[in-house]
């Protein structure tokens, strides 16, 4: 009936293939086709940032890309951050600074922060606030998030 294509991507280092209609968003491909539900979907129009993943090393909104556009790409999602039971240092800092409450925005916060810090390692606190405004959190008031990202950027231990 509908026109579907085979899409092969490397997600968190693992080669994965799935079928996708051209209109299938990358966010839905990750969650529903590949079963990687760590990436959350909020607004579906690029405002809330919950669905942020890395494509070829850069943070993007996975709700503003079609899965077919990711053919051949390297994708990193929140599931790839921890090493077994050991959380990524940024995740440990989110825990330490109470940078999450309900946790819905957290995958997007983490993936956004990692790219921001790599993009501009020498951010001031004001620049961290501006950069992290890319993701909406309705629980924390951002203070813990800003502290966690600042400590991560400064290279401090968790």
């Amino acid at each position: 009936m509908s026109d579907t294509r085979s899409v092969t991507v490397t997600v968190n280092g693992e080669r994965r293939t799935g079928e996708a209609e051209p209109r299938l968003l990358l966010s839905d491909f990750l969650r529903e086709t590949l079963g990687l539900t760590g990436t959350h979907v909020g607004c579906e129009h690029g405002i809330c940032g919950a669905c942020t993943v890395h494509v070829d090393g850069e943070a993007v909104r996975s709700c503003l890309m079609f899965a077919v556009q990711a053919e051949g790409a390297e994708i990193a999602t929140v599931e790839g951050l921890a090493d077994g039971e050991t959380l990524h240092r940024l995740q440990q800092l989110f825990s330490k600074h109470r940078a999450l409450q309900c946790g819905f925005c957290t995958p997007g916060m983490l993936m956004t922060a990692l790219d921001l810090v790599r993009h501009r390692p020498d951010m001031t606190e004001a620049e961290i606030r501006s950069g992290m405004a890319a993701v909406l959190c309705r629980c924390t008031g951002y203070e813990g998030i800003v502290h966690a990202v600042a400590e991560y950027a400064s290279g401090g231990e968790a």
């Binding site: 509908s2 026109d3 209609e21 051209p22 209109r23 968003l25 839905d28 579906e44 129009h45 690029g46 940032g49 942020t52 494509v55 850069e58 943070a59 993007v60 909104r61 709700c63 503003l64 890309m65 079609f66 077919v68 556009q69 956004t112 790219d115 921001l116 993009h119 606030r129 501006s130 950069g131 405004a133 890319a134």
Partner: protein
């Protein structure tokens, strides 16, 4: 929501893309970075029958130095422009404006060509193009057409592009020696659409303004140069009184609309404030004292 169905094409050459565009008729849309088009599809505010994805087309991305101007391929990502030292040096107005474009993850995908062709009144790139008199290089199966920015931006979300034409590059004149540029913008949160933004570039010769460029985003249906304000500055020292007069002129001449984010009257106030800020910074960067 989810996008409606469409026929999807991902050509790898410009010729193939232009053939698809010509053969598909007005029901086709070009998919560049997708940061404006995909939300509109997700909301089903647009239902194009055909999407021509130009992300895999070769030869229409990258920043080139062409003597007195930069040639920036339409598919150049805003993130690449933001970090380009060539752009920071030769087109500092574009460099600063690009930092105001949404958020980093949006700039990872968003393109300069997409922003120009979408012609959102609140977008920064069209305002820079208007101020610097950029040239839009457009291609169709019929050939190449070069359109000056002044004739390219027609109205809200409306450009001079014909249905079979694609924007392939933007030519940005380099900043002259002794000139300074600044972009000032106000939005509700960093990264949101501009309530008002002003682009300014001032050239000084012997302490006198030899060239002045002022344009804006969020302050009218399409970006224009504010000629009367520029005239006020020409041949003067761009001192605070002249800046105040130019800012008042921009506030009087602009054509803002009111919506849930800001009233037209408030945007007019912002026009004045942003013009003052942009001109003061541009003058300082041009080497004049504040």
């Amino acid at each position: 929501m989810k996008p409606p169905r469409f026929d999807y094409h991902a050509p790898e050459s410009l010729e193939e893309a232009l053939d698809l565009l010509a053969d598909s008729g007005p029901d086709a849309r070009i998919l560049a970075g997708g940061q404006s088009l995909v939300p509109v599809l997700n909301f089903r505010l647009a239902r194009p029958g055909v999407l021509i994805d130009i992300n895999r087309v070769t030869g229409i991305a990258g920043i080139g130095d062409a003597g007195d101007r930069l040639t920036i391929g339409a598919m150049t990502r805003q993130r690449e422009i933001e970090v380009s030292e060539t752009v920071a040096r030769a087109a500092p107005l574009l460099h600063e404006a690009t930092g105001h474009v949404a958020h980093l993850p949006i700039r990872s995908r968003g393109t300069i060509g997409g922003s120009m062709a979408n012609a959102d009144p609140a977008a920064e790139d069209p305002a820079v193009a208007a101020a610097l008199e950029a040239t839009m290089v457009c291609r169709s199966r019929r050939g190449e057409r070069r359109i000056a920015a002044a004739g390219f931006f027609v109205d809200v979300l409306t450009t001079a592009l014909e249905p079979d034409e694609m924007l392939v590059a933007v030519e940005i004149p380099k900043i002259p020696a002794g000139a300074g540029a600044a972009f000032a913008e106000i939005s509700r949160r960093d990264g949101d659409f501009a309530l008002a933004g002003v682009a300014a570039q001032i050239a000084l010769a012997n302490g006198r303004v030899s060239d002045a460029r002022i344009s804006a985003c969020g302050l009218g249906p399409a970006p224009v140069r504010f000629r009367e304000a520029e005239e006020i500055l020409l041949d003067g020292a761009c001192e605070p009184a002249a800046i105040a007069a130019a800012a008042a002129s921009v506030a009087a001449a602009c054509d803002p609309h009111g919506d849930v984010h800001a009233s037209a009257a408030y945007r007019r106030q912002l026009a004045e404030a942003m013009t003052r800020r942009a001109l003061a910074s541009a003058r300082e960067r041009a080497g004049g004292s504040a």
